[in-house]
Symmetry: C2
Subunit: 260 residues, 2 copies
DNA sequence: AATGTTTGTTACTATTATAGTAATTTAATG
DNA sequence: CATTAAATTACTATAATAGTAACAAACATT
């Protein structure tokens, strides 16, 4: 055991990255004080970090109003980090193949903390196109979230429920804690998860886990999404479970190899 | 003037980012010592930075061989930095419009130091599909590079030539310094640049600058690329210069507004 | 299995970088 | 022009990092 584990953790780097990750599609421009407040870093230190990022080209500063935006270096690094992520490169052909074979909408995500990180997605035109965020909190209301919860260690699951504040996203969203717990229990025995219009009205999804077979832990999930107009839940379960599980097992192989 | 400007630059953050940017499509996996050598940071500090990145989820460490790969957080940040880059979002519709109107291959890039950073690209099927790197050094051999050089301040251009070591990429690449200088001079008076099979055999390109009209500096360039089989240089100059310049002026408006 | 070799991890400080307060400048607003 | 807010700089105590060197673990070779 290390005597002082903190010695091998760079707080400055953590802060610098927390500054950089405040920028994105939703927030293309921010001010120094805004950054200082959001990160909780005092103004001078924020200034130092921002200044560094500007000098390195990760941010750029407007000459007029001093507002900050992403710079070319961030774009470049973004490209590399996105396309250089092996799991993304690995899951793409797997999902594409299933998509072209069966003509269904497919989604995939990794779990990070108790958040879903959207990985790769293919959508059929019959699905009301909805713009999903990259990070999602609502594990309890999504097929991918439910199957992940069902595969979590008991301690983790308990912790999740201890902090969970369910929100009624659609008329069908489960918000009663006991109901949600029962649903997860059922999901566990079933082996796949069902989201019956609980996240987005009119959309039914089924989900299966991406498992690391080596460590026997969940790393993420895949889901198949259907418009409720055209598909009944019964029909979906009859026709698509096998496809879902096959997809999930291929994804799990990938995860296991990659060691997520 | 600041007394000690270094006070407002975080070396730790710089190092941390230099570690992270060693990863990408070409280098999905690296070892600690490799990182230490490539960055020039001593092993203990590298260990600290890597450890930090692992703990934050930007990197992940293989349990078997301790090799390092990009983690979910890097993927996430990559996505945000890529799609949150306003210039990218701005240039896309401009290039798409021209692409669909005239059915020609179009490329765009920003300049960073003396390197081209690939921005957005649309390709016709008649062009031999070549996989371009994200960063390119060969300004002297590309249409986008030439027009950028032609618009550089004299001091910068001199510096560029003082370090330039031209490489014969195709039979038509100019490698004689004086010839290259003359070509840049000609480009300057012409107002657009010509790359006559100098970068890739069989491909002719014309380029125009993306100017910041406010600061009167070049921020990047756009180019139109043609297969030499189907188009003669004369035909291209007759038909496509107006289109190129219109495209470049639209892009310049964007750049000026964005303040690059 | 024992050996040497490489790579990764930890202990230990001197040195340096950063945090934080407060003052100052610059810009924005009425 | 006055007022307020935001950004930048000066200054220094404190905490974080760099760097050396020792140690452990993994790997290859004999």
């Amino acid at each position: 055991m290390t005597k002082n584990p903190n010695q091998y953790f760079s707080k400055t780097l953590e802060k610098g990255l927390s500054v950089l990750s405040l920028f994105g599609r939703e927030h293309p421009s921010r001010s120094l004080t805004e950054i200082s407040i959001l990160t909780g870093i005092n103004k001078t230190s924020t200034y130092r970090l921002v200044n560094t990022l500007v000098q390195l080209g990760y941010l750029r500063k407007s000459v007029n109003d001093k507002s900050l935006r992403l710079g070319p270096k961030a774009f470049l690094m973004g490209h590399e980090c996105f396309h250089g992520f092996d799991i993304y490169q690995g899951i793409k052909p797997i999902i594409d193949k299933t998509f072209f074979e069966h003509h269904i909408s497919i989604d995939s995500a990794l779990i990070d903390g108790f958040k879903l990180i959207s990985l790769y997605r293919r959508e059929m035109p019959n699905l009301v196109s909805f713009h999903l965020p990259l990070i999602m909190d609502e594990l309890y209301a999504r097929a991918m979230g439910k199957i992940i919860l069902a595969n979590l260690a008991k301690a983790d699951l308990d912790q999740y429920f201890s902090i969970l504040k369910p929100v009624k996203l659609t008329p069908d969203t489960l918000v009663d804690l006991d109901e949600i717990k029962a649903d997860i229990q059922e999901t566990k025995t079933r082996g796949y998860s069902i989201n019956n219009k609980e996240y987005i009205p009119g959309i039914i999804s089924i989900g299966a886990p991406m498992m690391n077979y080596q460590t026997r832990t969940v790393a993420g999930a895949v889901s198949l999404d259907f418009p409720a107009r055209e598909y009944s839940l019964a029909a979906i379960e009859r026709q698509y479970i096998a496809i879902l599980l096959k997809l999930a097992s291929e994804a799990s192989e990938l995860i296991t190899t990659a060691g997520i």
